[in-house]
Symmetry: C2
C-alpha cells in the first residue's frame, strides 16, 4: 500500500472484516434493475432480446495503474468505464456489472469506499440504469480489480470487428490522443528524481490539474454512440483501448481490408498511437449519415499489404504487450 493510504487514520479492511467492508461498499454502488441482485450465489439478469453480450477486464496495481497517479475514485471510474466501452463497441446497451476485487489487508476501508464511489459516478455519467449486480471480495498483496460487464443488443446484430468493406467510411467517436498525452505528461512530470511515479511530483508540476491527465484518469467513452452505430448500420466496430493504429490494425486484419486514415483527422502521434481513450472506431457504408459523435477519419480500401495507412503511408500497428513490455521496476 502506498504512503498516501497508510497516512489515513481509517481502519483497514483486515481490521474491519469482509462482511462489514461489503456492507460499506455495496450501499455506494449503483443498483440497476436486476431480477436477482447481490447476496445469492448468482445474480439473475433479464435478456428480453434472447441474447446478451459479455466482456471481462482486469486492472492490476503496477502495470495498469499507480496509486501515486490515480485516486481510488479514478480506479473505480476507469474499471467501470473501460468495460462499459467494450459493451458499447458491440452496439449494445450496458445492463450490468460484476466486480471482483482483491486488496491488501492493510488497505484502509475508505479506499474501497472511494473505489465504489468512482464506479457509481462512472455508471451514472456513462450508462445510467446499469447496476453492479454481484461481486467478490478477496485479499491479495497486489490490489487487483476484475470487472465483467453485460449488455443488451435490443434486436440488433452485434457489430463485430470483421465486417468492414472497401469503400466504407472509417469514423471515430470520442477524443483521440488525450489520454495518451495525459500519460506522457505523468511520465514526464509526475515522477521523482529516480523516475518513480510520485504524487508529490505530480502535484508540484501542476500535472494534477492538466485536462489531459484528468482524461487519462477518468476516460469518458461515448457509450450511447455504440447503439447509435448499430442502428445506423455500422459494418464493424471496436473500442479504442490501445490507440487508433493498433486497434485499427485489429479491425483491418479481422475484416481483411486496409484502413487509410486522413492526416487532417489524425494529426499527430498521440492521435495515432495514444492508448486508453476508449472512444469507438467504426466503419459505415459510404452513404451513411454518421450518428452521434462519430466523425470521418478515413476510408476502407481493398487489402494491400498493410493494415493501416495514413495519407497513403504505412503505419506500424504493433504495440503494448503487457507480458513483454512491462518493466515492473521502472513503471
Amino acid at each position: 500500500m502506498d504512503a498516501q493510504h497508510r497516512d489515513q487514520p481509517a481502519p483497514t479492511v483486515g481490521e474491519v472484516g469482509e462482511l462489514d467492508v461489503l456492507d460499506r461498499i455495496v450501499r455506494r454502488l449503483p443498483v440497476g434493475d436486476p431480477m436477482v441482485g447481490p447476496g445469492d450465489d448468482c445474480a439473475v439478469l433479464a435478456a428480453p432480446d434472447g441474447r446478451y453480450v459479455v466482456t471481462t477486464d482486469m486492472m492490476v496495481h503496477g502495470p495498469d495503474f499507480r496509486w501515486a497517479w490515480s485516486s481510488p475514485e479514478d480506479i473505480g471510474w476507469k474499471a467501470a468505464a473501460t468495460n462499459l466501452s467494450d459493451v458499447a463497441a458491440m452496439g449494445a446497451r450496458p445492463t450490468g456489472l460484476v466486480i471482483a476485487l482483491a486488496a491488501p489487508q492493510d488497505t484502509p476501508v475508505t479506499v474501497l469506499e472511494r473505489f465504489a464511489d468512482g464506479v457509481r459516478l462512472a455508471v451514472e455519467a456513462l450508462a445510467p440504469g446499469c447496476g453492479v449486480v454481484g461481486g467478490d471480495l478477496s485479499t491479495s498483496s497486489t490490489f487487483t480489480v476484475a470487472v465483467t460487464a453485460f449488455g443488451d443488443l435490443a434486436g440488433h446484430a452485434p457489430v463485430l470487428r470483421s465486417g468492414a468493406r472497401p469503400g466504407d467510411v472509417v469514423a471515430v467517436s470520442g477524443e483521440l490522443g488525450r489520454a495518451g498525452r495525459g500519460l506522457a505528461r505523468l511520465f514526464r512530470d509526475g515522477v521523482d528524481g529516480s523516475g518513480e511515479p510520485s504524487r508529490t511530483a505530480t502535484v508540484a508540476s501542476g500535472a494534477d490539474a492538466d485536462p489531459d491527465v484528468a482524461r487519462q484518469r477518468r476516460p469518458v467513452p461515448p457509450i450511447g454512440d455504440g447503439v447509435l452505430a448499430a442502428e445506423t448500420g455500422a459494418t464493424a466496430m471496436l473500442d479504442l483501448s490501445d490507440g487508433l493504429a493498433i486497434d485499427g490494425g485489429r479491425l483491418a486484419r479481422a475484416s481483411r481490408v486496409t484502413l487509410d486514415l486522413d492526416p487532417r483527422a489524425v494529426p499527430d502521434a498521440f492521435a495515432l498511437h495514444g492508448g486508453e481513450d476508449h472512444g469507438l472506431l467504426a466503419t459505415f457504408p459510404a452513404e451513411a449519415v454518421l450518428p452521434g459523435g462519430f466523425r470521418r477519419v478515413g476510408e476502407v480500401r481493398d487489402r494491400a499489404g498493410h493494415d493501416v495507412l495514413r495519407g497513403g503511408e504505412p503505419v506500424p500497428t504493433t504495440g503494448w504487450d503487457p507480458y513483454a513490455d512491462w518493466d515492473g521496476a521502472t513503471g
Copy 2:
C-alpha cells in the same frame, strides 16, 4: 514464482508475449457454443429463457491457493468448478465462462497451458457443453484468476437462499467434509519445519496420494443436481463453499428459519465445518422425492434464536473471513 516452476526450461510469458500466450491457451480451452466467441470486444451468448444467471469469483495465490500444494491443472479445475457450482446452486445449467488471469512475467508459459488444461478437464467432467467465451490476460506480481460464469434457467424460477419454510427437508448433494479433511492433512503433513507449505513435505508424507487431498485440489460439485433440485421444487439452495454450518447459517438467516441437522447425517466436525466441498445444500417440501444425489441431513424449523442446530444443540455459524483471518506470513 515457486521453485517448482522456475526449474522448468519452458519460456516465460514475459519472453513469449501476450499474443502467443493467448494463442497457446485458447486452443486448450473448451469452446462451447457461443453466438460470438473470444476475439471481439465482447462475446455474445444465447438466452432463450429471456434471463441469465451470473456469478464471479477470484482466486489469489496466497490466501486461496499455494503452488506448493496445487498444480496449475488443479487451479484451473478449481477456478472453473467453484463458479460452475454457484450457477448450479441457482438451479441453472452453466452455459459459459469468462476468465481474467494475471501472472508474473517470469511464469513459464507451460503453467498457463496447464491451467487451461485444468479448466477444460473440469468443464468436460462437470458441465459438458459449457465453453470459455472470453477472457483477459494481464501481468501481476501475484498470480490471480477471476472467473465469471453464466447459466440458463430453462424456464424455472431461480432457487434463492431465502425460500426455506418450516417443515421442509434439509438435503445435501455431494460429499461433506472431504475437502476440509484434505486441507487439514496438507496443513499437518505438507509443511516444512517452519510451517511453510512445501511440495517436498507433501510428497514425502504421502499426502499427495490422499483421496481427501485430491478432492481438496479438485472439487467435484454435483452440477446437474442443481437443475434437478429446481425441477423438484427445491424451496432454497446454496453452494457449500464455507461448510455446512456457515452456509447453513446463511440459508437460515435469509429464510428466517432454523435448520436442525441430524447428527447421523452430519457425524463430525469436518462434515459440519469443513469448507470447499462445493456440494449443494437445499431445502425441499417434506413430501418431495429427493432428486439425483440429494440425501436428507435435517429439517427446517421455525426460527428460534439460532441459525443452525445439530441434534437440537446450537452450532456456531461464523467462520473464515479472508480479510480478518488470513495471515500471509504463515498460510
